[in-house]
């Protein structure tokens, strides 16, 4: 069965990120000049404007910065089976924030500061989505 949900379309800036996800590594950019870590990937560093950069592997650990619980599915036909689902902005240990889903967690358990770690959901042969699971208590 084909995958009906939106699939990321990698571009010249993001291709290494999605290739990393494909290999179950969460890669983020670090500026080679000033050391600022950035997400999403961009050609230039917004702090020092350098383009030289390294891809570093995030620890994949972070905390919930904010979250929502989607209860009304949009588009209906795509998300009807998924609601309620949690979308969160996760602050990674490296300091950048990344939107994702919190999985294996009920809406009642999610809270600000909840410690989470990345896992990868293989949605097709090329794309694996980084999603987050609450740390074991």
């Amino acid at each position: 069965m084909s995958y009906a949900k939106p699939l990321p379309v990698p571009d010249a800036d993001s291709r290494p990120f999605w290739e990393g996800c494909h290999h179950h590594k969460l890669l983020i950019m670090r500026c080679n000049r000033c050391g600022q870590v950035r997400f999403p990937p961009t050609t230039f560093c917004s702090r020092c404007q350098a383009h030289e950069h390294l891809w570093i592997e995030s620890t994949g650990r972070g905390r919930v910065f904010s979250w929502i619980v989607v209860r009304h599915p949009v588009p209906q036909e795509v998300y009807a089976e998924d609601v309620p689902y949690i979308v969160a902005v996760v602050e990674l240990e490296e300091g950048v924030r990344i939107p994702s889903n919190i999985i294996d967690c009920t809406p009642e358990l999610v809270r600000a500061g909840l410690p989470v770690h990345v896992v990868f959901r293989d949605v097709n042969d090329q794309i694996s989505l980084p999603v987050f699971r609450p740390d074991p208590r």
Partner: protein, 385 residues
């Protein structure tokens, strides 16, 4: 900083009916609102030489309106690809164009079949290009879903409650009940608010604005000319547009925004008040951009009506009701009057300041704030009579 205090005025306003299914082209709606604004001012089509609008590819180009209504020489006809953030900015841009000699009489309009045509509140492009590749694959797609993340962060940092959001919805509906233009005129209670369907927690249905087919237009001209026209001028006293660092790649994107508990108002407040030469305590009433209930709280904080984190309690206890100390959204707002992307707030402000607001009139309205936008960028004006 905008430096044209009291040099320009709104001389005419026009609007269409606000409907769910207009059965008309957007060009037709825009043209009707513009013709009404010209007539309201006592000008003729031949006097118009500028147009400014904004759209999400859901409107009609300025030159199309100029063509339909027969403007002989549209010199300054500009369309911004923008959202509600631009609803005051287009008016400030009109003053800049006139000041620079690019035009004399400028129509600012917003037109859309926002319910029967392209629905901003529904799905966006479901193909995850650009910055959407980091959001849409997780089912984070619609504007209610985007802004619920901001509201939650405000609740986390400051303890803002659903009761407080509900009071905003109830208060604005009380205003709409008096407004013949309003799409939703049936009064609601806090119980109705809590009983409305949870769409995207923390937003219930009644936290979310309407979707509307319709158009608004505002005619901007020099203050001296405005004094000779049919209507009492409403002067543009101050204005500001902008946001802080990391405004993102589009209006949805706030991944790098410093703190979701504060929005653009924090960054434009100083310019706004300095440009107008007044402070929040001087404001008699305000039309605050209310695409969602919480955005009212964030803007009141950002503009300095109360301290950061105090907005939730500030709006409680009737302060923002029409007989309160700071009446807000006296027409019912985007939540209950209509969603013409914030330009209907300017229409209401002008009517209040002219004393033309009929059943909605607030006594002694002399200074009215309008705002436009809810997230990383936006605009605001101080208008006076």
């Amino acid at each position: 900083m905008w430096k044209l205090r009291d040099k320009y005025a709104i001389a005419g306003i026009g609007w269409t009916d606000y409907l769910k299914n207009s059965g008309r082209t957007v060009r037709s709606l825009a043209s009707e609102a513009c013709l009404k604004a010209i007539d309201d001012a006592g000008l003729t089509v031949a006097d118009i030489d500028g147009f400014v609008s904004f759209n999400f590819n859901d409107s009609v180009p300025a030159i199309a309106v100029a063509t339909e209504i027969g403007v002989p020489a549209a010199g300054y006809a500009v369309d911004f690809l923008s959202g509600g953030n631009a609803a005051n900015m287009i008016i400030l841009t009109a003053t800049a164009a006139i000041e620079a000699g690019l035009a004399k009489n400028v129509l600012c309009y917003r037109a859309m079949n926002g319910r029967s045509g392209f629905r901003l509140g529904g799905g966006r492009d479901i193909v995850a290009h650009g910055v959407n590749q980091y959001t849409a694959p997780y089912g984070w797609i619609t504007y209610p879903q985007a802004m619920a993340m901001w509201c939650r962060r405000h609740m986390i940092e400051y303890g803002t409650t659903s009761e407080q959001l509900g009071e905003i919805a109830v208060t604005f509906r009380q205003n709409a009940a008096l407004n013949p233009r309003a799409m939703q005129r049936t009064p609601i209670t806090l119980e109705d608010y809590f009983g409305s369907r949870m769409i995207v927690d923390p937003f219930r249905m009644l936290d979310i604005c309407l979707e509307t087919d319709g158009a608004c237009a505002v005619l901007v001209t020099g203050a001296a000319q405005a004094r000779d026209l049919r209507r009492r001028p409403v002067y543009i006293m101050g204005g500001a547009y902008g946001g802080g660092p990391n405004q993102g790649e589009d209006l949805f994107d706030a991944i790098r925004w410093p703190d979701l508990a504060h929005n653009y108002t924090k960054y434009i407040a100083e310019d706004l008040w300095r440009s107008a030469g007044v402070s929040p305590s001087d404001i008699d009433l305000a039309q605050i951009y209310d695409c969602f209930t919480y955005s009212v709280i964030m803007q009141l904080e950002g503009l300095g009506f109360c301290g950061e984190g105090e907005g939730g309690s500030f709006i409680q206890g009737g302060r923002i009701a029409r007989n309160g100390k700071l009446p807000l959204n006296t027409h019912g707002g985007l939540l209950s009057e209509a969603y013409i992307h914030g330009l209907n707030h300017v229409i209401e402000a002008v009517q209040q300041l002219r004393g033309d607001a009929g059943s909605l009139q607030v006594p002694d309205a002399e200074l009215c704030l309008t705002t436009a936008g809810a997230m990383t960028c936006g605009s605001a004006m101080v208008l006076r009579n």
